[in-house]
Each structure stands twice: as C-alpha cells, then as structure tokens.
C-alpha cells in the first residue's frame, strides 16, 4: 500500500484526529435528545461527520493519485508566527515600543533581503507610526513603556 495522494492523506488524518477528539471531549457535555438538544449534541454530530470525512479522505488517498506535496518551509513559518508570539509575550511587560521593535526585527530576519540597518530604520518608523495611530489617535490603552521598565 502506497499513499498516492499525500494531500488527501494528511488532511484526512488531521480531520480524523480533530473530529475524533471533538467526539471524545463532547462526551463530557450533556447529549440530550433532538427535542431537547444538550450542549453535547451538535459537537458530537459534527465531530462524527468530520472524522468520517477524514476517514474517506485517507481511504481515497490510497486509491486516487494526486499531486505531490510542496516542501514546507518550517523555518519561515516559525520566524513569522514566532515573532507574533514574542510580541504577545512582551507587550504587557515591556510595552508597545519594545514589542514592536522585536516583532519588526524578528520578522524582517525571515527575508532573504534582510539587512540590519534597513530593518532597524523600518522598526523605528513602525514604532512611531503605531504610537501615533493607535495610542495617540485611537486612544488604545497600551503603554509605550511597560511595567518592567517602570512604565
């Protein structure tokens, strides 16, 4: 048995896992009846259907050929999403200025055209712009300097 359609196979596996997990988790909630649906009714039905679709996709992946998977660029994905996570972790403590600086620099580094100088200029510009637009203009309650630095 060989996988002839990797896209079907992996998405099927994902659907099966999420659907199955949803059905299992939903057993903690009251099922009820069609007349008086409990909180577990709809999730159980949806999870079951999703698991079924996943199973069908897995079965089909062995029968019907499809195109190969393109390579995953995990490093790029990690750098872009990771810089957003860093922003979230730093925002309260370090304040908007530091977190925007980190977000802009860390994400810029993902580009093949990355240069420290241009990235720094860009980051400073973005700090000024976001302070002006979001904090001054829209009055969002985000401190520019966070509590870690006595802000």
């Amino acid at each position: 048995m060989t996988i002839r359609n990797p896209k079907d196979f992996w998405s099927g596996l994902l659907f099966l896992a999420v659907g199955g997990a949803a059905v299992l988790l939903a057993q903690k909630y009251k099922l009820g009846t069609a007349f008086k649906m409990g909180p577990g009714y709809f999730p159980t039905a949806l999870g079951g259907l999703l698991a079924l679709v996943g199973l069908l996709a897995i079965v089909r992946s062995f029968i019907r050929p499809g195109t190969a998977l393109e390579p995953f660029h995990w490093r790029l994905l990690l750098m872009v999403t990771g810089s957003a996570v860093l922003f979230g972790l730093l925002l309260r403590g370090a304040g908007l200025s530091v977190s925007v600086l980190v977000l802009a620099l860390a994400s810029s580094a993902a580009s093949i055209y990355f240069r420290w100088r241009t990235a720094l200029i860009l980051a400073v510009g973005l700090i000024a712009l976001s302070a002006l637009l979001f904090v001054k203009g829209l009055g969002l309650p985000i401190p520019l300097i966070g509590t870690w630095f006595g802000g």
């Binding site: 896209k7 079907d8 992996w10 998405s11 994902l14 659907f15 659907g19 949803a22 988790l25 909630y29 009251k30 069609a34 007349f35 008086k36 649906m37 909180p39 709809f42 999730p43 949806l46 999870g47 999703l50 679709v53 996943g54 069908l56 996709a57 089909r60 019907r64 050929p65 998977l69 393109e70 995953f72 660029h73 790029l76 994905l77 872009v80 999403t81 990771g82 957003a84 996570v85 922003f87 979230g88 925002l91 908007l96 925007v100 977000l103 802009a104 994400s107 810029s108 580009s111 093949i112 055209y113 241009t118 860009l122 980051a123 973005l126 976001s130 979001f134 829209l138 969002l140 985000i142």
Partner: protein
C-alpha cells in the same frame, strides 16, 4: 417611484462631506492594498475594525465596503503590469492583461479594466438597489427552519465554489463549524472545548482566525517565493483605447457584469469564480479563441467587470439576510454588530439611511475609483515597486496590534499565530480557508436555529421538509451537490479506466 425616493435618501446620506471623505478613504486604501500583492481585503478590513469603533455606523460601512470593491480595481493593476495578481480575483486578468503590457499596450489594458469595472459597478449597484428590498421582505417571514435550511444551502454552495477537492472542502466546513462552537453554549452555559482557559469562554474571535489564516499564513507563503518576484514590464504610454478597442470591449463588459452579478450573490468567493467563468465564456464565443492569452482586450474587460460586479452583489445576502457569504462579509457583519446594529432583514426598514447610504456610496466610490485609477496610475506603479521585505513586517505589526486591541488580550495575539500555522498547513494541503471561516461563523448560529426548529417540532426532523421555503432550499442544496458530484464521478471513473487499460 419608491426606488427613486430610496435612492434620493441614499444620496442624501452618502453625499455629506463626512461620508464622501470616508468613501474616498475606503477606495484609496482598497486600491492600495489591491495593488500590493500579499495583502488582501480580509486582513485589511480586520486590521481597520478597531478604527471603525469611533465612526458613525454608516460611515464605517461605507469605508469598509470601499476597501473591498476598491481592492478589486487595484488588483488588476499589478496583474497587468507585473503579471502578479494583486488580488486572487485578478488571476484571470494576468493572462491577456500582461500580454497586452508586453506589446506596449499596458495603458490601454489598465483603462479597459477601469472602464469595465466602472460600468459593472454602476449596473450592479442598481441591481442591488432593485433586488435587496424584496429579498429582505421575503426574509422577514423566515423562521428557524428557513434560516437553518438557508445556511445548509450556503455552506453547500461554498463547497462548490471552493477550488480543489470537494471532500476536503466539506472537511474544512465541518472543522470550521466545530471551531465556532468553542466557548460557552448559549443555551446551557456549558463551557465547550475551552481547555480550562477562561478567556475562551467567549469563543475564538472571528477576526483573530481570519487575520491568522489570511494575514500571517499569506506572508509565509509569499516569503517562500521571495527570490522570484517579478519586475515591471514596459512603460505606460497611452491610456486611451482606440475606437476599435471600445467596440470590442462593450460585449465582454456587459456579459462579465451579468455573470459577476449572478455569481456574486452565492456564498464563498463568487467574485473569483465569476472572473474565471466570464473569461472562459469570452474565449468560447470568440471567433479567434486561439488569440486568448496573447493580449486580447476581451480577456481583460470580461473578468475585471465580473469581479467588480460580484464584489458588489455579494453585499445582498449580508444586507438582507444578515448571513455572511464570505469572510469579508463576515467582517462587515462584525463591524455592524460592534455598532449595535443586528444585521438582518429589518435593517432595510429600520435603518433606511444606512441601507441606502451604503448602496449609493458604492456608486460614488466607483466614480472615485475611475478618477483614482486612470490619472494617478503613476502613483500606483511606484507603489508596486515597494519591496516586500519592507512591507510584511509592517503588515505583521498592524495585525498584532489590531488583534490585541479587539479585547486587550495577548491570548488573541497567540491564537492569531496559531491560526497562521493552520492557514499555512492548510494551504500546503490545498484545503481552502474560506469555507472553514464561513463554517466558523455559522457554527453557533446553525446550532441555535437547529435547536429552536427541533424544539418547535418536538424533535421531529421532517419539520424541515414540510415547510415550503425550507424544503425548496434544501432541495436546491441537494441539486447543487449532485451537479458538482457528476463530473467528479466521471473523473474518478476516468482515472480508474486508465489504470485498468
């Protein structure tokens, strides 16, 4: 004439200096992000939602709508000049538009796209004005049965319009419906799938999911191909089409407008399907189909008219039924709810100034766009030249601050990152994000309508089949499903036959 009185009310609302300004701002931002590949209307509107808190409802909607249809205009510019569609709905335009640019007719192609979009925008504004009110009146009679059936029909239609595998699109919808259930159950208050995180009791925000999947996921995919981003071809000399050009573009523009208006109403990305459909229609009826792809003006006029018409008629289900047909419309609904307006059939009668103001503003916006796009083309050309490595960190910063500001929650920023990973993985697996986001939004609504309908009928599921409107909508869903399955069945059999032989 009631329609004329209504349009007059709309002009009164849209022509105030304040609203004209927001309309202009909307189409300007729309054109900008349309021109720039790698940022689309979903991420932009999501980022600007916090800005709309402070505006009057009608100004907010006028601006957001302008961003959406403005992006359709701008998308054609980069499609023609650098063979890279600024928006996915301009993919069909790259074929002949870029070929025209290579022949030194870039200006004519740009003018054709702008003229086609303007005509389409004008006609579809009138269609919207004519068809939305009767539809809203019909919708007033809808009970939970009808709404549930309508949502089933909508989700089925979004499967059809998704490109790629049908089965995976069904999976994406179900996944979206499930994700939509995260949080407290409206009926019992039971916390579902919250994993003990108190912030999740309100569910995962739609904007958070949309920005992650469309904003972050897109950035990573653009970075993969950073090395082979295309360069500008040719200089723009003359914008003015010749008489012969004008003669040739009339038919395609009208046919494109018609196809776009019809498909735009459907859920999913109707504007995308419309642009491809109208392109292939022109190719089929042309006397010289072999010339398509080599710079036929028809191949620019038709898809550009279709995507603009589709973008505008996609407002019909949102404004009349309160049901989103695409992620962009879902954000519009979100913006209305923030303003304290529950979208639905009552908006037409209770908020006539809002309803007609939005519709008329679309026509005014189209006039602005024509002015913005033709004389100012040089400005947009310079915009295209902004290197992506300076652009995406800015997009990320705005996404992150925008998501945080929705409810001052850093968890939302982290969830956005998570959805970014999901968006990237699903793109690699060729699973469409739009049906998932649609399901995500409809999940809790569908559960509620199903629950109410079944409670009324004491648990009898045949209740959906005994009411005329709900049964006809479910029948339509079945018919649509069967129609799309037919060629799929054929394809499977073809493959099987090949292997036997």
């Amino acid at each position: 004439m009631e329609l004329l009185a209504n349009l007059a009310l709309g002009f009164d609302t849209a022509l105030t200096l304040h609203n004209l300004l927001y309309c202009f701002a909307g189409v300007l931002i729309g054109t900008l992000i349309g021109v720039l590949p790698g940022i689309g209307p979903v991420a932009t509107i999501a980022m600007l939602l916090p800005v709309t808190f402070t505006l009057a409802p009608v100004s907010a909607m006028i601006m957001l709508a302008g961003i959406y249809y403005g992006a359709q205009y701008g998308g054609s510019t980069s499609a023609i000049l650098i063979n890279l569609p600024g928006e996915i709905t301009s993919v069909a335009t790259t074929l002949d538009g870029h070929a025209m640019a290579k022949q030194g007719r870039a200006g004519v192609a740009l003018a054709t796209a702008a003229i086609g979009s303007f005509v389409a925008g004008t006609i579809s504004t009138f269609l919207l004005a004519a068809f939305a009110p009767p539809l809203a009146e019909l919708a007033l009679k809808f009970g939970p049965h009808e709404y549930f059936a309508l949502m089933v029909l909508g989700l089925v239609a979004s499967i059809v319009l998704a490109h790629g595998s049908l089965l995976r699109a069904v999976g994406m919808i179900l996944l979206g419906l499930l994700l939509g259930l995260i949080g407290a159950d409206v009926n019992s208050g039971a916390l579902r799938f919250t994993f003990g995180i108190p912030e999740l009791a309100d569910g995962v925000g739609f904007v958070v999911a949309a920005m992650g999947m469309f904003g972050l996921g897109e950035i990573v995919r653009n970075l993969e191909n950073e090395a082979n981003r295309k360069q500008l071809v040719g200089r723009i000399t003359t914008l003015m089409p010749t008489r012969e050009d004008f003669r040739r573009m009339v038919g395609p523009i009208l046919r494109g407008t018609f196809i776009g208006s019809a498909l735009g109403i459907l859920p999913g990305n109707g504007a995308l399907l419309a642009s491809f459909t109208s392109y292939s229609v022109e190719k089929k009826i042309s006397k010289t189909p072999e010339q398509f792809g080599k710079g036929m003006i028809e191949g620019v006029a038709a898809p550009e008219s279709a995507n603009n018409a589709g973008a505008q008629t996609s407002f019909i289900p949102m404004l009349t039924l309160g049901i989103p047909s695409s992620p962009v419309m879902a954000l519009m609904i979100g913006a209305l709810i923030i303003q304290g307006i529950q979208p639905g059939p009552t908006v037409v009668t209770n908020q006539p100034a809002l309803f007609w103001g939005i519709i008329v503003s679309m026509w005014i916006g189209n006039v602005f766009l024509l002015i913005l796009n033709l004389p100012l083309i040089g400005l947009w050309v310079r915009m295209i030249m902004v290197p992506y490595h300076l652009l995406y960190p800015a997009i990320l910063v705005f996404c992150a601050i925008g998501v945080y500001s929705l409810s001052n929650s850093t968890l939302d920023v982290h969830l956005m990152a998570l959805f970014g990973v999901l968006g990237y993985v699903f793109a690699k697996l060729e699973c469409e994000p739009a049906p998932m986001l649609l399901g995500f939004l409809l999940g809790p609504m569908m559960e509620e309508y199903l629950r109410r309908a079944l409670t009324i009928s004491r648990g009898d599921a045949t209740t959906f089949l005994t009411r005329p409107i709900s049964v006809s909508m479910l029948a339509m869903a079945v018919v649509v499903m069967v129609i799309v399955l037919l060629p799929a069945i054929r394809k499977t059999r073809d493959v099987a036959f090949k292997e036997e032989g």
